[in-house]
Symmetry: C2
Subunit: 444 residues, 2 copies
């Protein structure tokens, strides 16, 4: 998966060379967090940790990568030599994938030698940001369509190849049933789904011939795409075909509608199928869907059994990025605070404590310093020590179940698609406020 250690910003390497020249090799703690919730989100779903662990575990410079850096003429030979033996030997604490989380809360904390913790900034952000973005969008689709089949259809308009793979993973984590992207099925053991394209219909002399040929090739599984020419006419073609195929022991699985007013078409198609005795055929819908359109279709009573959701989920169309950061919070035992306008950070190594009521329902989170004695469950748990996993990560299936369990414990207003008021309470512990105030009084 990883395109290598040079998938980093140039400044990480120039800073590393400066640290090398200065002998700055102390222990540094960085934290990844999201500064604010986007307008249309009540919570986020932490995701991407498995890829981050893979990246950190494999981190090293190949001879070819070092040769490239050498020929840029920017770096001195002793520094490049030091990179040759660089590995990630630090500690990682993080929220488990699938944890529902909120602004200012660290999703991941890296504590390592300064050069190691610095170098990994760009790629750690690149992975955590994207999977968290998509999981946080996809979970809204599942909230909009409880009990319906949801399938990731987004490879073609995802932002290049790795996004297609990781959005299949993140949406499955969030509760989707599977994906159409074959390689994602292979890498992550996600169930695969597929129907047929318009081109298949068009390549045949008639739609009826195309339907029949496909059904004979897949005698139990065929989902026929019925909107290439005239949706209702095609539904009648399906009814006629089903009777003919039944005599040969072949059954159809369903139909797909991919254009027009999906709710209106689905109702008319359902009526045609039922009148023709095809009550068992399912109706699957796709075409520029997202949680809002799915909600409207479900609310309108559309007889749609499943949805193919692509582009708008994969690119998180209403919020295509999160305002996230990976910031130094402590160096050499001293807490640090960035004070830039509008971008100030909470200093020090932190922990998030989730407080629940007697029924296990989440009441709120407290952002505190690591080691503070605060009631509640600490959400950041040890993941790596000395560059190695402390225990196998939860499986994707386990993380997926965790999302569902946590959704059930959120205050119900937060699982609405609209903005919740009041938002989920996240409070800052007095110890942390005091530390921030103290650092603000120091000169630059």
């Amino acid at each position: 998966m990883t395109p290598g250690v040079l998938l980093t910003d140039l400044y990480e390497l120039t800073m590393l060379e400066a640290y090398f020249a200065e002998g700055m090799d102390g222990s540094a703690s960085f934290e990844f967090f999201v500064r604010a919730l986007p307008p249309n989100r009540n919570f986020l779903v932490a995701a991407g940790l498995a890829e981050v662990v893979g990246y950190l575990t494999d981190l090293s410079f190949s001879p070819e990568e070092l040769a490239f850096l050498a020929q840029t003429g920017r770096f001195q030979p002793p520094f490049l030599e030091s990179l040759g033996s660089l590995r990630f030997t630090g500690d990682v604490d993080a929220m488990a994938e699938g944890t529902l989380c909120f602004p200012d809360e660290p999703l991941l904390r890296v504590r390592a030698r300064l050069p190691e913790a610095q170098l990994v900034e760009s790629r750690v952000m690149n992975l955590l940001h994207y999977e968290t973005l998509v999981a946080s969008k996809a979970v809204r689709c599942t909230l909009a369509a409880p009990g319906r089949l949801l399938v990731d259809f987004g490879l073609r308009r995802a932002h290049a190849g790795e996004a297609a793979l990781l959005s299949a993973r993140a949406s499955y984590l969030a509760g989707f049933s599977g994906t159409a992207t074959v390689e994602a099925g292979r890498r992550f053991a996600i169930p695969l789904f597929g129907t047929m394209a318009h081109s298949y219909i068009q390549a045949h002399r008639t739609e009826a011939e195309a339907f029949e040929a496909f059904a004979r090739a897949y005698p139990r599984d065929a989902v026929l795409l019925i909107d290439t020419y005239d949706t209702e006419r095609a539904a009648q073609t399906v009814v006629d075909l089903a009777a003919k195929l039944a005599r040969d022991g072949i059954s159809l699985k369903g139909v797909r509608i991919d254009s027009g007013d999906l709710g209106a078409h689905a109702r008319r198609v359902r009526a045609i199928l039922d009148a023709g005795g095809c009550t068992g055929l399912t109706i699957f819908a796709s075409s520029n869907l997202d949680e809002y359109r799915v909600r409207d279709l479900v609310a309108g009573g559309a007889p749609i059994d499943g949805f193919g959701i692509g582009t708008r989920m994969n690119v998180s169309a209403d919020t295509p990025y999160l305002d996230c950061a990976y910031k130094l919070q402590e160096y050499d035992g001293q807490p640090r605070r960035k004070r830039s306008e509008g971008k100030a950070t909470w200093p020090g190594r932190k922990q998030v404590f989730r407080q629940v009521d007697a029924d296990g329902r989440a009441l709120g989170d407290v952002l505190a310093l690591d080691g503070d004695s605060v009631p509640g469950t600490p959400l950041l748990v040890p993941v790596m020590r000395g560059g190695r996993l402390v225990a196998p990560l939860p499986t994707l299936a386990a993380s997926r179940a965790q999302v569902q369990a946590q959704l059930g414990r959120l205050p119900p207003r937060l699982t609405d698609l609209d903005k919740a008021s009041p938002p989920y309470p996240v409070t800052v512990a007095p110890s942390l406020r005091a530390l921030a105030d103290e650092l603000d009084r120091r000169p630059p």
Copy 2:
């Protein structure tokens, strides 16, 4: 670059198996096009062809990939065996990268055996869509800031790794000066740029120590980040440092501002630097920039020499996807037309003719059938024949120059950031309209 042939939708493979069962192996023509311009675009910049050619050239199934397909239980052994020898042996005609283009115009045409042309749909779209999306966004940044240095800063919030690499490439194609992403510099020979992060400042005891250490590590190139604590105070620190360093023969290159009101800070910083004799130091700005903010800063006379533009460009934040398609237009010598509501296509194998006036200024395009005799320059040119390149592709530098040349020949209203009225004229040739009408009269 390519994550392999299984980066495809499942339905491509199930359709291929049905074609295999039916012996459907005729010549098929598919076209990739964008259905409509997004609200904030007057034109698009075609990009992604080089990656598509690489993908088609390398297309094959490895034994491991075939073994995965076999163990899904979905496919019959004779079909899987046929995949083992599948290669792309078809023809590709396409617009050169960097061509300015418009809705309904094919950017790329594939003519190949039906299974080959079908299989590649998902990944061809995935690559062309994303690079065209980014190039079309990035070019607007260059129009907003003529003569300024523009650098891609977007790795961390690009949608995973491949998007970071391809957006560095697409933005350079569109006219950016370079990127911060090291691996993109290596793969595509794009100039690299970088400054320093807040963490570098924070890891030092004082800002002044950090500045000096960095300048001594990079005695000609240092761009110092001055907004970690107090921007104007840091600018004065830079002035004091510059005098001290000059005595050691060390010179600074510039400063970077990354928060707050960038225009106001830049003016105050410029004044402090100039008053301190640092007239040669440049001011570089970053922080959630896009073409709109850059335009406003430039219009306001902000003394900013260069911009780092990341997230909003890499994810094309105002328009995070294009409504694009890859559709069958001809099979076995017969033109085809999809007639789905709102998604009908222009049938047949097509060509785009660009008509210019005596000064070479673009007057409009004509969408016609391939082989039609239409005045103007045909924009789709032969790229591959029989699965091989007919000639080396233009270099990235040549394509980049092509963008600039074509911008100069566009009607000036189109290079404005606001929506042009009237839009660029694209007319449909009578032959093509007649063919579409004829196909519409046929039964499904």
